[in-house]
């Protein structure tokens, strides 16, 4: 007995849709997305891949994929599904990663991600639903809109000399050496649909066998966007769209029997190798020596570009890393390498950090006047503010805050160069907060300062800043 019915790879009930029909999709009558969903679900079930699968939903009508597929689900920012899929695949090599995208998502805003994921031959499967229009946003022109086709933004029809030609993604991607399998199919007549089923299943099988990047474009109807009834839409698809988007296999190297050809897909995504890389980054700050923080540090460092504000933040973060703490460093700066304004937010915590942003610092460093004016009010009551008094003329509210005014640039100049003013400040900060011992900071700085000839000068700068505060 043969039964054609709803695949078990779907959820039994689709929570998205309220009302009486809780098992119905949110798609319009006659929309091709439902057909493609059914074929993917059926293939996953037949290949026994459902429980290993991660479905990456795009932005567009199919944004709610996670309400339908009973597998792992992500929802990516617009156009970024192949990049998100790359991360999922590389960190979970056993996952079957499905990047499901429409024409606006894949061929407009996400063109770069699409091309580069294909060019890297990521071992993921991309399903590209091409309906020649922006459906969700109300029927605007898409990159794949046909010449002469009317849309909300081409009311007189798309014109080659004004809007360019419909983009053929299969043909473009097939020029790249890395992809394994590229085919265009359609949700047209029954013959087309049966071919589409085969292609979708084949693409998933190729991924499961570790054979690299597979891409299936599905030409599909959007009756609502095209302003046609569903049957007329499917006829238009067959009669007109397939002339511009011919069906067929554009690339297929999946029959290559040479196992070496597929090896890189396993080796490149090896978790152990990523761990080695991360360990190397960790060892750059020296071996972890757990320290105790007196409390979380939420710091804002601000000044002119070129004063070493961002580097100050990096140094403190690296000292925190070596102390075994959770750290974040978040820079904000203008396009100027020198002379513009710059600030960074640094968090050091014994607990996980939710956001790298610091709106209300408990430690503020200001190395120019505008930064004092801008950020002083944001510091929490009882917080510490460290001012380079060589550069900043004003002073902070000492009743509310613990104010440390240190002529850091003058001290740095005495040490040898005003460029180490940031390290003088670092010494003052460590002294004012008692976050670390000076010896711990000095040994970390020795490990992370790349130019060894500058180490002594930095050591002196740090110690002068530290002593200035401790002896005050």
């Amino acid at each position: 007995m043969k039964t054609f019915e709803k695949s078990n790879s779907f959820y039994k009930v689709f929570e998205r849709k309220g009302g009486p029909a809780k098992e119905a999709t949110h798609y319009c009558p006659g929309c091709g997305h439902g057909n493609v969903h059914k074929m993917i679900a059926e293939s996953l079930e037949e290949l026994d891949l459902t429980k290993r699968s991660v479905f990456v939903s795009p932005v567009g009508c199919s944004v709610f994929g996670y309400y339908y597929f009973d597998c792992g689900n992500f929802q990516a920012a617009h156009g970024r599904a192949p990049a998100v899929g790359t991360a999922v695949k590389r960190t979970n090599p056993d996952a079957i990663v499905i990047s499901y995208q429409g024409d606006g998502d894949l061929a407009a805003i996400g063109t770069a991600e699409t091309i580069h994921a294909a060019n890297r031959g990521e071992n993921i499967t991309v399903f590209f639903v091409n309906n020649a229009i922006y459906g969700m946003t109300g029927g605007q022109m898409a990159p794949t809109t046909m010449i002469g086709q009317r849309s909300a933004t081409t009311p007189l029809g798309r014109k080659e000399d004004i809007h360019g030609n419909p983009i053929r993604m299969c043909e473009m991607l097939a020029t790249l050496p890395a992809p394994t399998y590229i085919e265009r199919v359609a949700i047209g007549n029954s013959k087309h649909i049966m071919k589409a089923r085969k292609a979708i299943k084949k693409a998933l099988r190729i991924q499961a066998e570790g054979k690299g990047y597979s891409f299936v474009e599905i030409v599909s109807a959007c009756p609502t966007g095209w302003k046609m009834d569903p049957v007329a839409a499917r006829d238009w698809l067959i009669d007109d769209m397939l002339k511009v988007f011919p069906l067929g296999v554009f690339k297929d190297e999946s029959d290559n029997q040479d196992e070496d050809a597929w090896k890189r897909h396993f080796e490149a995504f090896d978790k152990a190798k990523v761990d080695v890389y991360l360990d190397r980054m960790k060892s750059a700050v020296g071996d972890i020596e757990p320290t105790v923080l007196p409390g979380d540090l939420n710091c804002k460092f601000a000044g002119f570009g070129g004063q070493g504000i961002l580097t100050l933040g990096l140094f403190l973060s690296q000292i925190g890393m070596r102390g075994g703490h959770h750290v974040s460093w978040f820079p904000a700066y203008g396009p100027e390498m020198r002379g513009g304004t710059a600030n960074c937010s640094v968090n050091l915590s014994s607990d996980r950090i939710g956001t790298p942003l610091v709106d209300h610092p408990n430690v503020l460093v200001v190395m120019n006047q505008p930064s004092l004016d801008m950020f002083e009010k944001d510091v929490v009551d009882g917080g510490t503010i460290i001012i380079d008094s060589t550069v900043v003329e004003g002073n902070a509210d000492a009743k509310r805050l613990n104010v440390v005014a240190i002529p850091a640039s003058d001290i740095a100049d005495e040490v040898g160069t005003p460029k180490v003013a940031n390290v003088v400040i670092l010494g003052a900060l460590v002294a004012a907060t008692d976050a670390f011992t000076p010896e711990f900071c000095e040994s970390t700085l020795r490990a992370i300062i790349k130019k060894k000839s500058l180490i002594d000068m930095n050591m002196e700068a740090f110690r002068r800043g530290y002593d200035f505060v401790k002896k005050a």
Binding site: F4, A24, C31, M194
Partner: protein, 76 residues
């Protein structure tokens, strides 16, 4: 519904609440055994229904239908 499987003939069935009345199943049915109801379902669509005889169980309507759960076809 399921007692029909006891009959030794193929049949298709439509869940009238999930059908959106797009009529794509009518368009692909080689035997023209699907029709559209005069009645509205609770989502205000005229759902398709099986006229009751001559279904071959080919499944083409199932794949033409965009709704995952609207059509079921049994071929004994």
């Amino acid at each position: 519904m399921t007692e029909k499987t006891a009959l030794d003939v193929p049949f298709m069935e439509v869940n009238p609440e999930l059908c959106k009345g797009c009529q794509l199943c009518l368009a692909v049915c080689p035997k023209s055994v699907i029709a559209i109801s005069d009645k509205l379902n609770s989502a205000s669509y005229h759902p398709a229904f099986y006229t009751g005889a001559d279904c071959t169980g080919c499944g083409l309507c199932f794949y033409a239908c965009p709704e995952p759960g609207a059509i079921r076809v049994i071929k004994p």
